[in-house]
Assembly symmetry: C2
């Protein structure tokens, strides 16, 4: 039988077997960012604040294609998407669980996948606490993220009179996707936004600490996610299309509809200091509209005139 792994980093020694061999390979890639792996479940000290938890699946040929991204990028992107849900709540990450479904043909790529997951975990200053590895026809990663927050930001916190802000510049992911679908190579800034999205964790805590009322991360597209927030809060969100910050090289319409941005849409009762935000994070913070009335929907304007918003992306409707 395989020599038992030494119980360093608090891991439980793992027995023999193909599944454990894969876990051993991932642990070798992860080093000190994985802790306490190998029991039936992880045990974690309870957080001081509220426990914040989300789970998010990325599936081959739905969320990514293997000919568009490297395995490291697939791992990075899936992990960032999940951690972004903690950012949307202004939570600090406690750790991440990875449930990996692996086709037999992808077993050689597991080190690269683990490297991408690990790079994002390290960039977000958190840990890998556990997971599951199983066989399956398509590569899929389900990331469950745990965090803590003393005052979580909710989708339902917006009130009439709030100003609406967005972080970063939008349109990159959808414009990268369009280039791929049409057989071209995306421009570097758009591709980088697509392959390495950034969970805005510290930015969210900054925004929460300055009195923001509500937040959501942009995963379905600015307009679609603004609608989620409007419905959850029971207010209208009036957005000025000309104010929406567009990534260099992307089209303004892309900035309204592009999903998987993982930038934050927040509402705040008073003005937020965009210059201080930029000085702290090197990132734009742009006021794009305000919350008004109780019609729980998005009202989009262009030059003061109401216009029809573009559709967002939903795996079960628009394809």
């Amino acid at each position: 039988m395989t020599a038992p792994r030494s119980p360093s980093r608090g891991h439980v020694p793992l027995g023999p077997g193909g599944e454990f061999d894969i876990i051993r390979r991932m642990l070798a890639v992860w080093g000190g960012i994985a802790t306490g792996i190998g029991d039936d479940a992880a045990t974690i000290a309870p957080p001081a604040g509220r426990l914040v938890v989300s789970t998010d699946t990325s599936v081959e040929d739905v969320h990514f294609r293997r000919d568009w991204l490297t395995h490291a990028e697939i791992g990075y992107r899936a992990t960032a998407a999940a951690l972004s849900d903690l950012a949307a709540m202004a939570a600090s990450p406690l750790g991440v669980f990875l449930a990996l479904t692996l086709p037999e043909s992808e077993v050689p790529a597991v080190d690269e996948l683990a490297r991408g997951v690990g790079d994002c975990i390290r960039a977000c200053d958190t840990k890998i606490l556990g997971g599951d590895v199983t066989r399956g026809a398509k590569l899929a990663l389900t990331l469950t993220v745990l965090g803590s927050a003393s005052h979580p930001l909710l989708r339902s916190g917006a009130v009439a009179g709030d100003r609406v802000y967005v972080t970063g510049r939008l349109g990159g992911p959808v414009s990268a996707l369009r280039e791929y679908r049409e057989g071209r190579t995306p421009a570097k800034p758009a591709r980088e936004r697509f392959a390495h999205p950034v969970p805005r964790l510290k930015e969210a805590r900054w925004l929460a600490s300055r009195g923001s009322h509500a937040a959501i991360d942009i995963s379905d597209g600015l307009i679609a996610d603004a609608r989620h927030l409007a419905v959850a809060s029971g207010v209208g969100l009036h957005l000025r299309s000309e104010s929406v910050p567009v990534l260099a090289g992307a089209k303004p319409v892309d900035a309204l509809a592009s999903g998987e941005e993982y930038e934050l849409l927040v509402t705040s009762p008073g003005p937020l200091d965009a210059a201080a935000f930029r000085a702290e994070f090197g990132l734009d913070l742009t006021e794009i509209g305000e919350a008004q009335g109780d019609e729980a929907d998005v009202v989009l304007t262009a030059g003061g005139r109401r216009v029809a918003p573009p559709a967002g992306y939903d795996h079960f409707t628009a394809q």
Copy 2:
């Protein structure tokens, strides 16, 4: 647009869209056992004891086949498998997160899937706290379970001299699987063990409160899981094959190798009161061997003579 859902049960009102329609259908099936759904993440009061977390994926054609189980059974079984990891740690469940990957053709079955998940959640006296729905080529369910335990049972707690016990009677799932694979209908007791496994949550807390040292749930097969526990603890586990309790109609060899039992293997420094256990839970608790020496492996005997153990099931080796 769709009328916003009333914020009963603490759910956040959901906007329009195909993915939200599926979530609305599941919430209608779940009623009061789902709480606080609809934000980017769930917020939960932190537990008093240690936080115990596990994640577990069930994939179509790997863990189940749609022609062998109803959708309700697929949902029940996947949920039970995940909650069993909390039982193995002697934790009390706090709640469950469901990440569902759904082929387009399976959308009509979502109510039945949700019913099965809900039935198991209700049987285990816990809640659904969140999840994710995505499209994919194969039906897959990743259940992440949260629990709390003041003194979690670990795989690594066994010491030489411990007695080894197992709950229930083994061999059902593998014998049901064999019948299905050979085109026959399994006997009712074996099929029931396969379709509706029982996470031994209360049983585990009973065993922990009576001084048990270590536990693991039997998901890979008695011998394979005993080996995991032996390796984690750094002791030998000497098991008497003739003592292993066999389900009515199953073969003794099946009881040694059958995976997905979700019964518990525990070690205890002193004798456990099997009669009291039976009176409490209506379930066998059987002493099947003892921990000896420091060779971290399983030693199987038959009539006092050492015999070769059968192989367990590993998705990445034995098929």
